[in-house]
Structures are given as structure tokens and as C-alpha cells.
């Protein structure tokens, strides 16, 4: 073509210098004579002055330096006057920004309906086009060989995505981290070392029956079942109960799956109406509680009249 524009680096750190050079080959510019060539510059629509000089092999040259380029995105134009009109003869797209910020607060949750592992994280604003991927390394060999695979990629601009079951390894530790890359560098989050099963979000258990115990007015028998999707699992559950008068819930912690199908509890006031709810989680660090089960209510027996 008539002119070509070269830039030392089209993507730079915000505020750093950019040098550009526009080379014009008069003989290819619609009959323009070399002497008539006056090279002008525009940064988007802002006129700038370059240093024009004769270039090699009959070309005309103009150099331009932008000492502190700080627009996230701009178009640098090289122009000529021709037949009384301003002609745009070359263009370069410039970008400025920062390497990606380090993603943080990575957390993941396994959905037991489809066994997809949904992870989310916090990320700074992107100054440049940034590609983000959630990386997974299952085996130690994979980790050491740096052959992590991409579990999923968030859709544009989002800070979460879901690793499908087929890329997961259950009941064994995996390393998971977020990798963000743009033209100026790459940043990786802390590595999460988890067994996906340990971060499963359980379905709530079911309170099937709560019956007063004959002859023990201050005791009840709580019949309960873990959800079908966690029927095979080790569980750590907790029961809460409250009578309408009491402001706060009382809590019975550390109920294991072995306590099925029924749990005997005592210490209740007689002849009092209580409301019960149960929830469960995996007995592992970082586990998520299920929602509370639907409530169930019972009135404990009146105290038997003392034999006179």
C-alpha cells in the first residue's frame, strides 16, 4: 500500500512510552511527489506532531513518541494531504493496561445432582482482554509435569464456572486454581487442595417422626433419614429445637449418620410444644451445611401425677 505504520509494542503498561513510525512510498500514493508529502498523526481524534525525515529508498518517514500512553484503547492514525483532502493511509490499534490481578478467594462447591464442581473467585478489573481458566491437576504426576487441564472457563466477565463430572476425581485430592492471562502477563490464584466430595453441598435430611417416649416425659425419639443423594455418606449433622417461648434455638451437634433411623433425646420440659430442624454436612474442613430440613413439631407428655 501507500504507507505502513509500525509500533514498537501495541500493548504496553499503562503510562509507559510508545514509539511509532509511519513510512510513505510516494510512488504508490496516487501520483504524490515526495516533496509534497506531509505526514500527520491522529490519536483517535487528537492531532499529534511527528518528526518527518527522508527514509531509505525514496520513502518519507515520520516518527512519533507517546511518552506516557495511558488510554486503555486507542487508534493511532497516519495521514497524508492528497488532492486537498486529508487521507487516512495507515492505522495501528494501541492498548495499555496492567498484567492481570491475582485472582483470590477461590472456593468450590460440588452439586450432588450432576456432580459438577462450581468454583467462584474474586478478580480485579481487567484493563486488557484477559483469558481466564480454572485449572485442575488430579494426580501428583500431572501436577509435577505441569500438565494441568482446564476444568472450565468462565463466560465473558464472570467469576465462576463449573467443572463437569468427567474432569473430576472424586474421593482423592485435586489441586484447583484460577489462571488469568493477558498480553502483559499471567496471574494465578492460590491453589486449593480439595477432594471434591468434601465440598459437596448436601440435600437437607428428612425429619420423619418425633414421638414422646412412653414413661419418660422429658424425652423424645427423633426419626430421621439423610437425603437419598447422601444416603451412602459419612455425615456430621446437627439438630436444633426451640419452644415458642424461647428466643434462641438449642443445638445438638455432631450427630453422625449412624444415629439413623432414630435418635433419643432427653431434657425437655414436659407438656411443652417444641419445633425441630436438622441439617447435615460432610465431616471435613470447608464442608458446606445443607439447608435446614423442614421443621417438625411435637408436644412432650405432661408429667405423670406423683403417686400419693
Amino acid at each position: 500500500g501507500c504507507a505502513s505504520l509500525s509500533v514498537d509494542s501495541p500493548i504496553v503498561l499503562l503510562g509507559s512510552a510508545v514509539s511509532a513510525s509511519c513510512t510513505v512510498r510516494a510512488e504508490r500514493c496516487g501520483g504524490l511527489q515526495r516533496a509534497q508529502i506531509h505526514i500527520a498523526w491522529l490519536l483517535d481524534s487528537e492531532p499529534l506532531a511527528g518528526r518527518q525525515q527522508h527514509g531509505p529508498a525514496g520513502t518519507e518517514l515520520s516518527n512519533l513518541t507517546l511518552p506516557h500512553f495511558n488510554r486503555s484503547q486507542a487508534r493511532l492514525w497516519c495521514l497524508l494531504q492528497w488532492n486537498g483532502t486529508r487521507q487516512r493511509v495507515a492505522m495501528a490499534e494501541l492498548r495499555a493496561g496492567y498484567p492481570p490481578a491475582k485472582p483470590s478467594n477461590l472456593s468450590c462447591m460440588l452439586n450432588l445432582s450432576d456432580y459438577g464442581l462450581t468454583c467462584q473467585w474474586a478478580r480485579g478489573a481487567d484493563s486488557l482482554p484477559t483469558s481466564v481458566a480454572l485449572k485442575c491437576a488430579t494426580s501428583r504426576a500431572q501436577r509435577e509435569a505441569g500438565a494441568a487441564l482446564t476444568g472450565c472457563s468462565p463466560r465473558d466477565g464472570r467469576h465462576h464456572c463449573t467443572v463437569p463430572r468427567r474432569l473430576l476425581q472424586l474421593y482423592r485430592h485435586m489441586e484447583i486454581w484460577v489462571s488469568a492471562r493477558n498480553a502483559l502477563g499471567t496471574a494465578e490464584s492460590e491453589r486449593l487442595r480439595i477432594d471434591p466430595m468434601d465440598v459437596a453441598k448436601l440435600e437437607p435430611p428428612a425429619l420423619q417422626s418425633i414421638e414422646p417416649l412412653p414413661g419418660q416425659p422429658d424425652c423424645v425419639s427423633v426419626g430421621w433419614r439423610a437425603a437419598r443423594s447422601s444416603a451412602h455418606m459419612e455425615l456430621q449433622c446437627e439438630l436444633r429445637y426451640r419452644s415458642p417461648e424461647e428466643p434462641a434455638w438449642a443445638l445438638v451437634p455432631n450427630i453422625s449418620e449412624a444415629a439413623q433411623p432414630a435418635l433419643r433425646l432427653c431434657g425437655f420440659l414436659c407438656g411443652t410444644r417444641y419445633r425441630f430442624q436438622l441439617r447435615c454436612r460432610r465431616p471435613s474442613p470447608g464442608a458446606y451445611w445443607s439447608e435446614w430440613s423442614p421443621g417438625k413439631e411435637v408436644t412432650t407428655q405432661e408429667k405423670a401425677p406423683a403417686a400419693r
Binding site: 501507500c2 505502513s4 487508534r75 487521507q87 487516512r88 490499534e93
Partner: protein
Amino acid sequence: PLPDDVSGDHDFQLFLRKSLEFGRKIKGDVAALQDVVCETFQLCQEEELWLVRQHLDVPAAPLERCQRPGFEADACLEQLHGGLRVLAHSLGAVRELLPAHADLVERLQLDAANLSSNIQQQMEELGLPLVTFPPEGPGVLPAVASRFHQQVGSFFLLRNFQRFLETALRALRHLAR
């Protein structure tokens, strides 16, 4: 040439009215795409790009049989049919330059190809021979070097398309009279 009594034929008149409306729709979408090119690439004024234009051979579809003195109804319809096919095909290159507007470009391609096939079917129903050449090449902008030249190429392609449609609508209005 067109059968003499065709201009009064109801079907032909309906074809012309529908083609006029379709042409207006396409012209509106081309104008919308020109706005996108102006906003996205800062390429808005044709006279600023004449120099670069000399190094691009953006094909323009010929329509001289749709304008005086060479006006000839069946030859004009044939040029409309052929030109729409070339322009529809060449928009493929524009689509790659404007991924965020791929829907608008694709709709434009579908409409241009659709109007071209409507004309072809109408000519077949009128018993008029129609020679169709497959549009060749990857698209309008042969291996041009820089992104800038491709963007300028897309600018001129749309301008040529706009002018093609203006001439086409004038010819269809003349036929409809």
C-alpha cells in the same frame, strides 16, 4: 426479454412490491452496519480513504442494465440476481471483522441471498433463462495485508452495497410503474 404483458400481471406486480420492501429492509440494515463500521473502526468519511482504496480491489456488482441508457428489464433482473449473490458472499469477510455484530451481518447475508433467490424464482416462472455463476474466492477482500486494509475494504464493500441498492430500488420502482 420480459413478455410484453407481464408488467400488468398481478403476480409480477406483487413480486415487484415485495422486492421493493425487501430492498428497503436490506438497505436499512446496510446503513446500520455502516454506522457500526464508523463507530468501531473510526472509518466514516469516504473521501478520507480514497488513497488506500486504490490498493484494494473491492468488487462492485455491475448494474448498467438497470440504468439508462442500457436499461433492459430482464437483463437488469439478471444483474440484480448476480450482484446480490456476490455481495451476500462477500459479507463473509465483514463478519469476521465484526464478531460482536455477527448476527446483523448474518441476517444481511441471508436477506441478500434470499432476495437474489426470489428474483431467480420469479424469472424461472416467467420462463426467462438465468445464467448463475457461483461467487468465487473467500470473500471480497483478497489476501490484503493489514487489519486496517481489511477494515477499509469492509467500509467500501458496504458503500458499494448501499449504492447498488439505491440503483436497484430505482429500477424496481420503474418496473412497478
